[in-house]
């Protein structure tokens, strides 16, 4: 059987001043049927751009996309019938009730009346919206709207579901509910493609993760294997009884230490080689007359891997590409 998604050489240059803006740069990947595939990257990395190309909303500049075995450039109709889409803002028709939103979507997907009413009832009950089925969506909370949006995307039981940033801006309960839901869908056999800039979400939900940065895929693997690949981003966590002024600077000057972060009452020291750092730390504490409360070596987290790949400062997930880098990318777009 074909892959759920197969992408070759996919490129998007947004037309604009000069040669335009290179948002996705010759990416290749496949998504297997049944898996939860995470598309992880900082804001502006090209996640939505990619997803919009995969769902026919955006015309690629170059490259080939097969969705459920169908070439989108040839005939997107059979693929469109089998996919569900939760857009980035996951918007519903606020003037319509939850029920009418689902009925509308069911009819657009050519479901019979019996099918769509039965399915809508099932979904609204599952999603905790049944009591509010006749309430206009404008009165819904953000979490309720998001759940309704997902219900609309799966009313026709798509084989492949796309979610663009399903949880940011939601409270903890709604986030949990949506993550549970995604797992459930996956268990029932739906393939899930989701974009996220939340590392922990990708770590907990996804079978495989692609890390995208500046329009390029930097790595694709299971979360655990990604962590193993990046053994160099290991760290040692140490807590002292006190933290006198200037301690951070002193720790930073230790050989073997690349970055120092303060996390609560602990210090996290990033290093290529914890075994070499430990004796240094012992001597350091004696010299500075500091007592050690605890000392741990830590394996890299997915966050560490992500930060390493995206070249961002450890501990500071920046909100988007810096202007300078964006400019550089524009130039690159010109050359290609």
């Amino acid at each position: 059987m074909s892959h759920a998604i197969e992408v070759q050489n996919l490129t998007k240059i947004y037309p604009g001043s000069g040669e335009g803006f290179l948002a996705v740069d010759k990416i290749n990947f496949t998504v297997d049927r049944g898996e939860i595939f995470g598309f992880l990257g900082p804001n502006g990395a090209g996640k939505s751009t990619t997803q919009r190309m995969l769902t026919t909303l955006l015309t690629p500049t170059e490259g080939q996309i097969l969705v459920l075995g169908h070439d989108l450039a040839q005939n997107s109709y059979p693929a469109k019938r089998q996919i569900g889409l939760v857009p980035e803002e996951s918007n519903v028709y606020t003037e319509l009730t939850a029920w009418d939103n689902l009925m509308f979507t069911g009819r657009i997907y050519l479901m019979s009346k019996a099918d769509r009413t039965a399915r809508a009832e099932e979904l609204l009950k599952d999603f905790g919206l049944w009591e509010n089925k006749d309430v206009k969506a404008e009165n819904f909370s953000k979490g309720m709207k998001r759940r309704l949006s997902i219900a609309m995307a799966i009313i026709h039981k798509p084989a492949l579901l796309f979610l663009d940033e399903p949880t940011p801006g939601l409270d903890v309960q709604s986030t949990r509910a949506i993550q549970t839901l995604i797992r459930q869908l996956s268990a029932e056999g739906t393939t899930v493609f989701m974009t996220t800039h939340q590392i922990e979400e990708a770590n907990q939900l996804c079978d495989r993760v692609a890390i995208i940065n500046y329009g390029k895929i930097a790595a694709i693997d299971t979360p655990e294997k990604l962590k193993q690949t990046f053994q160099q981003v290991q760290s040692v966590e140490i807590a002292f009884t006190s933290s006198p002024e200037g301690l951070k600077e002193k720790l930073t000057t230790l050989p073997e230490v690349s970055t120092v972060l303060k996390i609560g009452d602990k210090w996290r020291l990033y290093t290529d080689s914890p075994p070499d750092l430990l004796p240094l730390l012992m001597r350091f504490s004696e010299k500075e007359k500091l007592d050690i409360v605890s000392l741990n070596t830590l394996a890299p987290s997915l966050e560490d891997v992500f930060l390493q790949i995206t070249g961002q400062q450890v501990g500071s997930v920046s909100e988007g590409p810096s202007q300078q880098k964006a400019d550089r990318r524009r130039k690159k777009g010109k050359q290609s």
């Binding site: 919009r52 015309t59 519903v92 028709y93 003037e95 009418d100």
Partner: protein, 253 residues
Amino acid sequence: MKIFWKRIKDELSQAWVVTLKDIKVYYLRPGMIMFGFLMPFFMFFSFSVRREMAAGEGMSRLLALTIFFTAAAAGPFIIPTERRLGTYDRLLAAPMSLFTLLLGKIAVGAFFAIVVSSIAAIVGILFLDAAIAHPALMIVGIFIGSFTFSTMGLIFGSIPTRNPGDVQMPSTLIRWVLLFVSGVFVPLSEMSTVARGISYISPLTYAQDLMNHAVLGTGELALWLNLSVLFLSGIIFLLPSIKLHKRGRVLGY
């Protein structure tokens, strides 16, 4: 062959679902009421009060105005609004052709125009004693004109933007220009040769003349010409909309 007809049937039903949904969602929106429902009456009264006018003449003019303004108001309002809210993506990603989606959107504007002009017609007949020379032709004219001008409005709605304001300006401007070059406020028979030549460019001229045929029983142009021009321009107006939608898909709207 059977599959082909099934697909046609499916697409038509999808277009109809889009139309019904839009009617439900947008009929009470201030932007729609303002530009779609009130504007034609406002135009009618501000340019007609000072002139002595027979009821039939007023009726015919009001019908042309309501068809023109109401039908052409829906597209430029609804599509950019849906793009801004992100709900348009749902429709674009749905398993239906672009033509089907556009057909659904055209029918919304046409529906509003048919309702508003029917109300105008009923009021005219009941309260102004306007006599309608050819009622059947009037109904045909309302239908065909509503679809044509809705398709015209759709061109503006198809401009890739997420801001209805971007589109409202040019679309209102064009409608005003068309309004003043067409034989609505100044009858074709009273126009100079040049003005008359210009008026032939505007499809509204033919809609007005068609309404004159229907209500007054006489027009300056041949009936078949009015009907064919309206019908053909309705189809030709579809092409820029399709092009603009494809452009939107490239630009990322």
